[in-house]
Symmetry: C2
DNA sequence: CAATCCAGAATCATCGATTATGCGCGAAAG
DNA sequence: CTTTCGCGCATAATCGATGATTCTGGATTG
């Protein structure tokens, strides 16, 4: 066994719940986090709550300031651009590595993620679609042996999600034929060049759309 | 004023001390962290200590496992390779951005960091040399407006440090003429191509040296 | 009218004690 | 002789209470 099946700490449970709440923008970007309210909501005491929040700062989802507590990381056009620039660099690099080193498990997980993504309706269940979409991107890069690269990309993909929720940009922007399928096929075919190319342009398209939508959103307020 | 001069929390003080202790390998890689001992050492209670450790997981310097507490992240050839690969990608990209966007402050901080590095003896005060060296690398990329890129690179530079301490690889590996000066001059001259080229080959050299030294170290034990 | 100051309230940070869990070791079983 | 079990100890995790700091809003002053 690889997992000794340890009992989860309260801190870890709260961590997972909080992350999910933030990623779904239930705790909106920039919001002040009131420890007492959350303590009550999670029916626990301050210590595990603070610990969970401290751990969330690792992902960039929460900010901490001495004597002023925690708040949900705000969103900004600058951060959005940073995120997508870094994804463009790292995710493409990771995919190339994955194509070189991926096992059959990697391949099949891509196929599975692609299928699930295809079977999810962006309009019907937005939340589920986002989850499937992010899972697909993670599946693509899962083949690289570089754990650090995987984790960093995963973090960036998480950060992207809030912007999609915020702008309501769920579903590929009517890109026409399924872009994801093209990436997946090239990857499984072990065509690194082609896969990288397609992923890069998919990310570029996402970047244009998200940036534009977010700018519009900011202006409207 | 930009800084309201808030009083530092105990948690933050402990965080800084712990980070420094880990980066100097005073708390060696892989070491189990005993909460009671550290609590006594820092003359505080468990809560701020746990919080500081939780925050340190953000940098990858500390690992946490449910019901088993914290330990210093272990070192490995694989992680070393990951770190240096990501530095090669991100730091070069960041430098290019910095050359494009850097202000005069950025330039002068590079010159200053270079000077300090030159005036520090690797053999005489190894710790100080490492600090100056890392500061120089951070100064190079400080010009990019992308905060996320800066932070990520800074984290990677921190992670590298432990390997240098561990292998005793302090000082440029007798690279001959001062490599750092070459990078700095190209950067200040706003020659992105040349600066990137020089930084890339500096990092490549560091990679070869560190990888070899670390492998030797691992074999000897 | 604007800026400053000062309670009092709200909130954060820390502590010491308590509970829960995992680990090591020796005894018992096979 | 090896494996398994269970007890007791070391340690981690959590709690509720207390001490500090910041924030708020209204009175005061220039």
């Amino acid at each position: 066994m690889t997992a000794p099946a340890r009992k989860e700490t309260i801190s870890s449970r709260v961590l997972a719940d909080l992350r999910s709440a933030i990623l779904r923008n239930e705790l909106p970007p920039g919001a002040k986090i009131n420890l007492d309210h959350l303590r009550e909501r999670f029916d626990t005491s301050i210590s595990p709550l603070r610990e969970a929040l401290a751990r969330l700062t690792a992902d960039g989802l929460v900010l901490f300031e001495d004597q002023r507590g925690f708040r949900v990381s705000p969103v900004s056009a600058a951060e959005l651009d940073d995120i997508l620039e870094m994804r463009a660099i790292l995710e493409v690099a990771a995919l190339c590595e994955a194509v070189r080193h991926g096992t059959m498990d990697w391949e099949s997980n891509i196929i599975r993620a692609l299928h699930r993504l295809g079977r999810t309706s962006p309009t019907n269940d937005a939340d589920q679609w986002l989850t499937s979409h992010d899972a697909f991107h993670n599946a693509l890069i899962a083949g690289t042996p570089r754990m650090m690269l995987r984790r960093t990309c995963a973090g960036l993909i998480d950060l992207s999600r809030r912007y999609r929720v915020l702008t309501g940009l769920v579903g590929d922007g009517g890109d026409g034929a399924d872009v994801h399928e093209g990436i997946a096929m090239a990857a499984v075919r072990r065509d690194a060049e082609e896969a990288a190319q397609r992923l890069a342009s998919h990310l570029a398209a996402e970047r244009t759309l998200l940036t534009r939508s977010f700018a519009r959103l900011s202006n409207d307020r």
